[in-house]
């Protein structure tokens, strides 16, 4: 032994093993799936200060874009291939339809301001481009018509007006010099104002998120998230999907992008995750601060009974706003049935613009909270479909208060024949409640659903009764 020169290596190996073995044997290794939610949150590098990089005066937004393109030549092209520019999805095969269809703001309607066709002057205020004046826009638009500033200009330096052009009086030089990574203010200037004003459309997206408290939105309030921390963006393609304008569920943002699927300490809660969306428990209410519109009666428009933006407007009809709204709960597998222009309205009851798909027998569907918006809007009583009226501009309803004219003009633009006879029919629209995630102390408790006056209508969801007693849809008890 003593003659072996390499004995010391053996000794060293044995000694090291002596130390490591007990460590391995004794140290508890956490077997639960621990995912660091911060791992997926991007580090925001400090944005290059453009103050000294941009000089000169700009007369138009297009000139600003040209300046941007000098250094970032590929960006306009990227934007022009995204939904923020096209306002229309790629053609998608939908069960029950013969040909692939596209949907988007560009060609479809909702039950707020109905549709943009013929109404570009006002509606495209929120389009990430300049000068969308008619249906030929996307064929003729040039790269410098991409609006860089709406997403990149600093807070309070920029605003858009008719046809998406910068508002008069905006100092484009200052706006251009202030550019940075998009903030909540950039995204919110359009997304918090969907439907024609703050908090109108979503219920879970409104201007209260500019300065949110932790109890309003734990991500933005407590952790100061920006929209793009979750809606991560590559080559100007921003992650995220909404069933109001999408037919597929590609490129969607999920809670589980950052959070583990079995993160609850409690096994019983984790067992819910196959059936219940995170949002169901963690967003018990929406419209916590700013009331959201839950009802819109176009049929009552045109009266001179005094305007109040939250109750009645002559141009739009009557509204109902609500705050602290408890969502409605439906099965949802990530996609929805979309009403397309020309589809017949429902034979009975309201016509759903985007009824969420999924039911208790669909293993991919989960119970998800929704804001349900009820409206009545104009339809063709002979052809039995919804009409996209012209509201904005010459001959539009908002100036003439003449539905007949608005319907006729709208028909000329959309190409959808109008019989000359109109009425009003009820439509409903569903908005997944997915923002305003509240702190864990506000999350729903068992009794919120599993009690006599619980939130979930078990029979309507397809259960024989409360699954706590009747059993769940999966054999494993979830």
């Amino acid at each position: 032994m003593k003659n072996n020169k390499f004995l010391w290596i053996l000794v060293l190996v044995i000694s090291v093993a002596l130390v490591i073995l007990p460590l391995v044997l004794f140290l508890p290794f956490d077997k639960t799936d621990k995912v660091d939610p911060w791992a997926n949150v991007p580090n925001r590098p400090t944005h290059t200060d453009h103050t000294n990089l941009i000089s000169g005066t700009f007369e138009t937004g297009q000139e600003v874009t040209q300046a941007c393109l000098e250094c970032h030549p590929e960006t306009a092209g990227q934007v022009m291939s995204t939904a923020h520019w096209t306002w229309e999805s790629k053609p998608i095969e939908v069960p029950g339809r013969d040909e692939p269809v596209t949907v988007g703001k560009k060609n479809q309607i909702n039950n707020f301001c109905i549709g943009i066709q013929g109404n570009w002057q006002k509606c495209v205020t929120c389009h990430a481009g300049y000068g969308w004046e008619d249906e030929t826009f996307h064929e003729t638009a040039t790269e410098d018509q991409v609006d860089c500033l709406v997403c990149h200009a600093g807070v309070g330096t920029y605003a858009k007006g008719d046809y998406g052009l910068p508002l008069e009086g905006i100092d484009l030089t200052i706006a251009a010099q202030s550019v940075g990574v998009p903030t909540r203010q950039n995204c919110g200037s359009c997304h918090f104002n969907g439907g024609g004003g703050n908090a109108v459309k979503h219920g879970d997206l409104d201007e209260s998120l500019y300065w949110p408290s932790a109890s309003l939105d734990v991500h933005m309030g407590e952790h100061n998230f920006q929209c793009i921390d979750c809606h991560q963006t590559e080559d100007h393609n921003i992650k995220g999907r909404s069933i109001s304008v999408s037919l597929d569920n590609e490129n969607q943002v999920y809670c589980t992008d950052c959070h583990s699927t079995n993160m609850h300490e409690d096994e019983r809660l984790n067992a819910h995750l196959d059936t219940v969306a995170c949002q169901t428990c963690h967003i018990p209410q929406f419209a916590l601060e700013d009331p959201t519109k839950v009802e819109w009666r176009w049929s009552e428009a045109g009266q001179d009974i005094g305007d109040d933006p939250h109750v009645y407007l002559k141009i739009k009809g009557s509204f109902v706003y609500a705050s602290d709204v408890q969502p409605q709960y439906l099965w949802y597998n990530g996609v929805a049935d979309r009403y397309l222009l020309g589809d017949p309205i429902a034979a009975e009851g309201p016509t759903a613009i985007n009824y969420p798909k999924g039911d208790i027998n669909d293993p991919t569907a989960k119970i998800m909270p929704f804001k349900v918006h009820v409206a009545d809007q104009i339809y063709d009583t002979v052809n039995n479909y919804l009409i996209q009226p012209k509201t904005v501009g010459e001959g539009g309803y908002w100036t003439e208060f003449d539905w007949q004219l608005a319907a006729t003009l709208g028909s000329q633009i959309t190409g959808l024949p109008y019989s000359g006879s109109y009425g009003f029919t009820e439509t409903i629209m569903f908005w997944p409640t997915t923002h305003m995630v509240q702190p864990v102390s506000e999350a729903l408790q068992c009794t919120a659903c599993h009690s006599e006056d619980g939130r979930l209508d078990w029979l309507a969801l397809g259960y024989p009764g409360d699954p706590i007693e009747w059993g769940s849809r999966f054999e494993n008890g979830n």
Partner: protein, 864 residues
């Protein structure tokens, strides 16, 4: 392929079948809608004579009405709720409580100083029914007054308990049960008269289904008598411990699913309390799920369930049989105060009957040991979040005739929302279970003082007390004069107390003046079991330090009272299942405390218990060694200065192989860490920054390394024959030892040579040999074995127990640790006795040593 006729027929059949299926499912859906209404059939309400109350206008008889289908006689006679101790009534003074005036183990006959009232002696049943008996369900002792067992109180969706109580208090006993129906629209009560609502009945005189609200008892039903039940999401408000219901007042338990963050209470730190009062209520476990009727076939625990060859006995009552004769004896645990129906103790499923315990506690060291010694509740009910009674002082009377009552778990005494509810940690007492096991369980301790008189003693009647203290709506002038400490002419809350012997004597004299013979103040501590308000794992006690420190939660003094009325020190009431052999003492402010005594001979708690003589001996050993080496080193230094520098002839030899050095330093490291972590485990309160659990883990890992390293070294020494160096040679051993000792004691100071030459083959002097022999062959094995046995107490408890278990092993392990530490100090000192102080240490690092040459020998030729 051409479609055949057969094919067509099949298609048609398919269409017809699917149409049928749709119709069938529609019918099913309709059936579901109907199932929304209760299954309970409708029925007429009958009076005592069996006539329809619509005709007679008489009170409803539950026995007759419900007896149309159910065996109400059987139910009433199989219900400890109805019996309330009547059937076990006995002579005064012979019950388990030991109170000379108690006559039963139930609400009827078991006096309680919290509610006071008159002792039951068989002559005052109506008084009982109108005071204590307001929480009684009827039947049993109330039967004599015509109050039948009140089915409605527990089985109605919205019973009118207030009106029921009003009827009892008004002496309108026969209407008490009918009054319970007043909220259900069946009967209306106006201007003292009951009128049946004919709208609620059909033409046959039977109740219409719309008015039928019979149900299994819901939590709210139980809560009417048992405590605060709050099932909705409106913020719950509790401000003090009075009027919160019996269990809530006595234990602080609240049956509510509400998240504490949303409570309406002025609760300390509530924004952080993201838990409900009780996890079971939060998870929709109802009272009756655990406290079920014992012959309910759904829940029943059959005797044969415990047979070795059976897990479940399917031979059960049919539903019909059960519904005809549902035993109204409900499964129960074994709470301290529940002395009624002892045969039902522990008849319910306990925590571990439903919960998997082993797998969920695999993180817990000594899981089995823990579960042998403590009930689940001890860790899983760490904190109560509402006030509960602490002190009930009936030696005085407030102007409203009530006692002076103090709550625990609340700061401030206004009884309003302005008081801060802090909640409280339950007192932990050992509980003797009916299976003979003794485990720690949580309690609230309520101490009461009250006057008794006569022989045999009786509590002084309340009227007499009031006569002593009160004059109309205020205190008597004499009382104010005697008790008004601040002389403002008024008695404030804090002044109303017999906190001196003079005050007590004055009241005693006043009582005697009113004909009360031999008045004395008695005092008793009542332990109330806390079994609800359970927390899930996230809120349960998981910190070892909660118990494993000097200030262990297990032995923390619990305040019993803020003052001691009449100076009377209370005793624990007998007949409870607690082992209350702790210490009751007053502090310098006059407040009274109870400190649980945990016997370390039966329960040895690491970090809390220690055997003090061992620690003193250890300290003495270490001080002795330190003292010895200080003196020795001092003289060495002194003599070295006085004498010419000793310059021995040196030669370099290779002393320690690579393996030996690695071994030595690895042992050094592990022993040092073991000694330190051991000290932390022994005295955790001195090392607050360390996490006990982590320290134990490190200790175990280091011990494993040490033992493996030692075993490997033994193998190495055996195989290489080096073991000989450690074995003292008998021949000349004593002589040589004496020579070596002499050297250390004198020669070393005189610059003499080391008496024995240090060589690689013979590097240990005789004293070293004997020391190492002892250390390696006695201390190390003993320490290893005791350590393994302590660690193994959770795996092979029987081996540890045979050697006295932890109470013996742990102190012994400590003793050897002290010896080790003393050895190490000496060992390190002796390494400095080479030709230079650091020579020894250096040689153990580099392997080469410079040794004194005594005789010329060939130099070692060894190379590393």
């Amino acid at each position: 392929m051409r479609p055949s006729i057969k094919h067509h027929t099949r298609k048609l059949a398919l269409i017809l079948m699917s149409a049928g299926a749709i119709l069938f499912s529609l019918a099913l859906t309709a059936g579901h809608a109907a199932a929304q209404t209760p299954l309970h059939p409708t029925f007429p309400f009958l009076d005592k004579e069996g006539g329809n109350v619509l005709d007679s206008g008489k009170p409803v008889s539950t026995m007759q009405t419900c007896g149309q289908c159910h065996d109400t006689g059987f139910i009433a006679s199989h219900s400890f709720h109805a019996d309330a101790g009547l059937s076990s009534a006995t002579n005064a003074g012979s019950t388990s409580t030991g109170r000379p005036w108690d006559t039963s183990e139930g609400l009827y006959g078991k006096w309680n100083p919290i509610t006071y009232g008159e002792p039951v002696d068989g002559t005052n049943d109506l008084t009982w029914l109108q005071t204590i008996g307001l929480r009684h369900v009827g039947g049993g002792p109330a039967q004599a007054a015509g109050v039948e067992m009140n089915c409605f109180l527990c089985h109605l969706n919205s019973p009118d308990n207030d009106l029921r109580i009003e009827m009892l208090e008004a002496g309108r006993f026969e209407w008490a049960n009918t009054a319970t129906l007043a909220d259900s629209g069946i009967v209306s009560y106006t201007a003292g008269n009951y009128e049946y609502n004919r709208e609620a009945f059909d033409e046959n005189g039977e109740l219409r289904t719309a008015f039928l609200s019979i149900q299994d008892p819901a939590n709210q039903n139980c809560g009417q008598c048992h405590g605060t039940v709050h099932m909705d999401q409106t913020p719950l408000v509790l401000t003090d411990c009075e009027d919160t219901g019996w269990e809530t007042a006595t234990t602080g338990i609240v049956f509510a699913a509400q998240m504490l963050t949303n409570t309406g209470m002025n609760l300390k730190n509530k924004t952080e309390l993201t838990r409900a009062h009780d996890i079971h209520v939060e998870r929709l476990v109802e009272c009756t799920d655990c406290h079920f009727s014992i012959n309910n076939p759904i829940y029943a625990i059959s005797g044969t369930d415990s047979l070795d060859n059976l897990q479940f006995d399917p031979r059960r009552l049919d539903m019909g049989e059960y519904l005809f004769q549902p035993v109204h004896q409900f499964a129960r645990g074994q709470s301290a105060q529940g002395s009624i129906a002892p045969e039902l103790k522990d008849s319910m499923r306990r925590c571990e009957s439903c919960h998997v315990v082993d797998e969920t506690h695999d993180w817990l060291p000594y899981a089995e040991k823990h579960m042998e010694a403590i009930h689940c509740e001890t860790c899983h009910i760490p904190q109560m979040y509402s006030p509960a009674l602490q002190q009930v002082d009936w030696t005085v009377v407030q102007v409203d005739g009530s006692s002076q009552t103090t709550c625990r778990g609340v700061e401030g005494k206004t009884g309003t929302i302005n008081d801060l509810v802090t909640g409280f940690n339950p007192a932990l007492l050992q509980r003797k279970n009916i299976d003979g096991s003794i485990k720690l369980a949580p309690y609230n301790l309520i101490t009461a003082w009250y006057w008794v008189y006569g022989n045999p003693q009786q509590p002084v009647p309340q009227e007499v007390l009031q006569a002593v203290y009160l004059d109309g709506d205020d205190y008597r002038q004499e009382i104010i004069a005697a008790l008004d400490s601040n002389n403002n002419g008024q008695l404030e809350r804090d002044e109303l107390a017999l906190d001196t012997a003079e005050k007590a004597a004055l009241i005693a004299a006043e009582l005697e003046a009113l004909g009360i013979n031999n008045p004395q103040i008695w005092a008793e501590v009542q332990p109330y079991s806390i079994n609800h308000n359970v927390a899930d794992a996230g809120w349960a006690i998981q910190d070892c330090e909660t118990c494993h420190t000097d200030e262990s939660q297990l032995a923390v003094p619990v305040q019993l009272a803020s003052y001691v009325p009449g100076g009377v020190i209370p005793n624990f009431i007998s007949g409870t299942n607690t082992i209350a052999n702790g210490r009751i003492y007053t502090d310098k402010n006059g407040a009274l405390f109870y400190q649980t005594a945990l016997d370390k001979n039966s329960t040895y708690i690491f970090g809390h218990h220690n055997v003090s003589w061992i620690d003193w001996l250890g300290a003495a050993m270490i001080l002795g060694v330190l003292g010895g080496i200080s003196v020795h080193g001092g003289i060495r230094a002194y003599s070295a200065r006085k004498q010419a520098k000793h310059q021995p002839e040196l030669k370099k030899i290779f002393m320690y192989s690579f393996y030996e050095r690695i071994w030595h330093w690895l042992q050094t490291l592990t022993i040092l860490i073991l000694a330190f972590t051991g000290l932390v485990i022994h005295k955790p309160e001195m090392f607050g920054i360390f996490q006990f659990k982590g320290v134990v883990l490190v200790h175990n890992i280091m011990a494993a390394i040490l033992v493996a390293n030692a075993a490997l070294a033994l193998l190495y020494n055996l195989l290489s024959g080096d073991i000989k160096r450690f074995i003292p040679e008998p021949k000349g051993f004593f002589n040589q030892s004496i020579i070596q000792a002499k050297y250390y004691l004198s020669g070393i100071f005189k610059n003499e040579h080391h008496p024995f030459e240090k060589t690689r083959e013979n590097r240990l002097n005789p004293l070293q040999q004997v020391t190492y022999f002892m250390v390696l062959n006695v201390l190390l094995p003993l320490q290893t074995i005791t350590g393994i046995l302590m660690w193994g107490a959770q795996r092979w408890p029987e081996i540890s127990n045979r050697l006295g278990g932890l109470p013996r092993l742990a102190p012994f392990h400590t003793l050897i640790s002290w010896s080790f530490v003393a050895f190490i100090i000496l060992h390190v000192y002796l390494t400095t006795t080479g030709h230079t102080p650091l020579a020894g240490i250096k040689s153990m690092i580099v392997g080469w040593d410079e040794v004194e040459v005594h005789l010329s020998e060939p130099e070692s030729t060894e190379e590393e």
